[in-house]
Amino acid sequence: MASLRHGTTGRRVLRRVDPFGRPTVTLCAMTRTVRVIRGIGWAMIWAGVLIFAFLAYQLWGTGILTGIEQNAARTELAESGVELPDEPAPIPIRDDGSVDEEALDEVVETGPATLTTEPIPGAGEAFAIISFPSLSRDDRPQTGDQPADDLIGYGPSYVVREGEDLSNLRRGPGHYATTPIPGQPGNAAIAGHRTTYGAPFNRLDELRAGDPIIVETAIGTHVYVVRDPRTVHDESDMLDVGDGSGWMAVRSTALWVVDPLPGAYLTLTTCHPEYSSRQRLIVVAELVSGPNARYVSEGNA
């Protein structure tokens, strides 16, 4: 690189050469300050582009991937030959969208008194559909007796796969392999993303005590009702509790939330607060209707 003076202006110029020693361009020399500012400017532009790309991929791109996987899983479930009951028990819904449990007792009493078991799905296998009728944005379930299958059409619903490893969670909610299958006695647990990969559990914090959660599996439709977590777990272990008492926040290492419980419960876990994986938001729901509801309510579990 040779330093010369421009013939007309007298300013210093640089004669540049390529790696083979051939002259290429002649540029007016920049001062060191200008070069530094220009370098910082380009670095900030590229940092902005990378941050934008990162957020677009995480908040939008991953959702597209999960949407494709969820559609494939629904097809997989439909083609698996799982036959759901023709007429599942009706679910009495109150004006506020919650389940009328007093009216539900009569429904449960007419159910089978024996335990209906279900084969354990293989790792990564799609085996259930979970729906949240009370999270419907614009078409809330009508009040009165609603067939459980009809409620599934309301609110967000997702196909659940067996296993809580990251590869499964990229495809939708994942069932903790060490816990019972939903609908069975004990504490069935399901994890899901809150912010990325379709954010299936993004709105769990909107659930209130009394809201229904419906899980369809091969043996039938199971209706759970969200419980105030303080009635199930020790409040001193919680970091926070939701306004409608439909959820609690706990440490990300709080393994006790997936411990076995007497009766039949469903525990949903996701990240908390939103856009952070610092804590966990937990929803606890109790089985109130389905093939095993009477068996459980009679104290067999």
């Binding site: 990251l166 994942g174 903790y176 899901g192 993303h193 990325t196 997936v258």
Partner: protein, 50 residues
């Protein structure tokens, strides 16, 4: 800057094209891995307990 970088690649023009494609693919993979890691670390790790 990019054209200078491209011209600096060794080999004949056909080789430069393949080298450039390979470099871009490797960079994209590295960026994707970094995005995945940072996404889990900063935004959402799936909500699994433990």
């Amino acid at each position: 800057m990019l054209s200078r970088w491209y011209r600096a690649l060794p080999g004949p023009p056909a080789a430069k094209v393949i080298e450039a494609i390979l470099i871009v693919v490797v960079l994209l993979v590295l960026v994707a891995v970094a995005f995945e890691y940072l996404g889990r670390l900063l935004l959402d790790d799936g909500g699994v307990i433990g």
